[in-house]
Amino acid sequence: MNLILISLITLGAVGAVSAIILFFVAKKFHVYEDPRYDEVEAALPAANCGGCGFPGCRGFAVACVEAESLEKLNCPVGGNETMQKVATILGKTVAEAAPTVAVVRCGGTCDHRPRTSDYDGVKHCFIAHNLFSGESGCSFGCLGLGDCEVSCEFDAIHINPATKLPEVDEEKCTSCGACVKACPKLLIELRKKGPKSRRIYVSCRNEERGPIAKKSCDVSCIACTKCEKVCPHEAITITNNLAFIHDDKCTLCRKCVEVCPTNAIVELNFPPRKIKEPISSEAELVS
């Protein structure tokens, strides 16, 4: 009985003294933190993906509070809605940013791109990229080993087993850019989502001359310059034997898709085309 009492008193006394010391120490060394940090952080999606360029949502919240304007800050996951919330908390204004989405710029499915060798090494794109140029003749195309799939925290990109190419789930993609960094072939690009999710892009990265590119893959860009000529908005440029559509100039008129001889230019989410009359004589004259 006595023993229990002594222990209780001693421990109680030690605890009380420590609590008093801790109380004063905490007072003395208190660090003032802007309460808005927590408020902003609470408004963020808490994905901690790093897509904004800061280490996690807390880092982004601190950056938002400290920054003079929200001009260059954007949370790709939350989008405009979240940024509006952040702006209201901080009493700042934010311009509406066009939502972006990841697109895979390779159309070399197994049918289009015959395999010339078999790779049985480590199933990791970066390791395969270190060793050789790929199982097909195209040294720019997708390796199909799924580094992008592993990198995605939102379950938005998956390798299609039939085509061995990654496919992006637009609903889930937050355009955080993790897959862009993960791809050793630099195939994935963040593009404007476009009205009604409609987009046009060149689904090829092959920088070889036309005949060589065509030999290794049926749907490669052969830099024939047809799209460049037909584009009324100068949105298409060709560098290193490869066409590129600038999404800020593109008006989605789909003229380039029609003229592309290899179907390397892809249109997404457009309604099916109306069946047109046979090519008019005028068009022939132009070409």
Partner: protein
């Protein structure tokens, strides 16, 4: 017998083509001469489509400090300068030449007479080596003249000739030593003259007793050259391992052999230097071993640079039916080839056919912490740790654990009982960490 002190393995030697005479294969109809080397900047083409070239004519000029000249290995007409898939698995610039006859430049001495005397001054010798585009034939194809010019303030005390050939299957250096022993010794004398050293060691593994005997007998006529027989162990042919085996000196991490007062040259390079200095012959051919357990005719072949490996394979009896993988080089350091339609480069040491049942990778299992990889690593690294860090993208930690010291010998992957792809991951980490270090240096 001497050997290096840390790690090492002893894979089955399988030297089927040992002691076979070097055969010269027929001139091909077309050659594709690569303008790029394994390391360094690609050379710049100095000829254009339609030009007529002779054997030994300069077609690619060195472009930068670590780069070497490229010469035509045949006479004929240049059909194009384009990209060509090479043994690295990537398309790189190359010169395509259609062969017409076999016309050599007049100043090249084609005969097999031995020219013993070399009275040229040091600068002239170095200039000839540089002009001839000599690169290290050990595998890394580092330009020889750069290696023979020590950085200011550094002085070599000795030179080591790497005649170890520790890779299984390969016998091209062995064949060369048996046939060109005298020339090799003259080549060593020339290197000693350039570096102004009094001592040279030739390191040969004990599985080549005929070469040791021949070179030891001949070396008696040359002062300062000593043949050092070495205990068979892989990777003894690694520069740092060989220095440790012969001189018992350790090259510090991240430093080159001149730091411990020595320069290492491959025996094939020595022969090429002899030919360049004494016979004015640039690097236009090399010896390639074609071998494998079911190879119809394993042997050593003298091949003009730029000959397609498929033609060489055909001349050597064709590809055996049960081949699962074809490796360019030795079984440990070589790279698996995507196709045989790649040109012979200066660094191509061999074609190795691996049988189907042997070529299949075994399933990867968990690490059982047996530390076999740590025991065999010749650089004293911890491969299992580096692999784990590479898998988790821990680059600063990898750098701190000296991943850049890895010589990619593959001993760890060879010895792992769980078939873990240690080297694949370490090589991946090495590339990434190397990039980070270069970026830092630029900043």
């Amino acid at each position: 017998m001497k050997t290096f002190r840390i790690g090492g393995i002893h894979p089955k030697e399988n030297k089927f083509s040992a002691g076979k005479k070097i055969q010269t294969i027929e001139l091909p109809k077309q050659v594709v001469i690569p303008l790029s080397h394994y390391i360094g900047t690609p050379s710049e083409a100095v000829i254009k489509k339609g030009d007529l070239v002779k054997v030994g004519q300069l077609i690619g000029k060195a472009n930068g400090f670590i780069s070497a000249n490229v010469h035509s290995s045949v006479s004929g007409k240049v059909t194009k300068v384009d990209v060509q898939l090479d043994a690295t698995g990537y398309k790189r610039p190359a010169v395509f030449i259609d062969v017409e006859g076999d016309e050599w430049l007049e100043n090249i001495d084609k005969s097999s007479d031995i020219v013993r005397e070399c009275t040229l001054p040091k600068d002239e010798i170095l200039r000839r080596i540089q002009d001839a585009g000599i690169v290290g034939l050990g595998g890394a194809t580092f330009p020889a003249h750069v290696k023979l010019t020590p950085p200011p303030g550094k002085k070599a005390e000795s030179v080591i000739i790497n005649a170890v050939e520790c890779e299984s299957y390969l016998t091209n250096d062995h064949g060369l030593m048996l046939e060109k022993a005298e020339e090799i010794l003259i080549g060593i004398k020339i290197i000693m003259q350039v570096l102004d050293v009094k001592k040279a060691f030739i390191g040969i593994e004990a599985n080549k007793p005929d070469a040791i005997k021949l070179l030891s007998n001949l070396a008696k006529n040359y002062t300062g050259i000593e043949v050092v027989p070495l205990k068979v162990s892989y990777p003894q042919g690694g520069e740092k391992q060989l220095i440790d085996a012969i001189l018992r000196r350790q090259v510090p991490s991240g430093k080159i052999p001149i730091e411990v007062g020595t320069v290492v040259q491959n025996v094939g390079t020595v022969f090429a230097i002899y030919e360049a200095v004494q016979k004015n012959k640039p690097m236009i051919e090399r010896i390639v071993t074609v071998t494998g357990k079911s190879a119809p005719n394993p042997g050593n072949y003298r091949v003009r640079i730029g000959t397609m490996l498929s033609e060489l394979a055909l001349d050597a009896g064709g590809v055996p039916e049960d081949t699962g993988k074809i490796v360019g080089g030795g079984p440990m350091m070589g790279r698996s080839l995507m196709t045989l339609d790649v040109p012979t480069a200066k660094g191509s040491a061999g074609i190795l056919y691996i049988q189907k049942q042997e070529s299949i990778r075994k399933p990867i299992q968990n690490c059982i912490r047996c530390t076999k990889c740590v025991t065999v690593c010749p650089m004293g690294l911890e491969p299992f740790l580096l692999m784990n860090q590479s898998e988790r993208n821990m680059w600063p930690e990898m750098e701190a654990n000296r991943t850049m010291d890895c010589i990619e010998c593959g001993s760890c992957s060879y010895t792992c009982p769980s078939n873990r792809p240690l080297l694949d991951y370490i090589r991946f980490g090495k590339t990434t960490v190397g990039g980070i270090i270069r970026n830092r240096a630029v900043k």
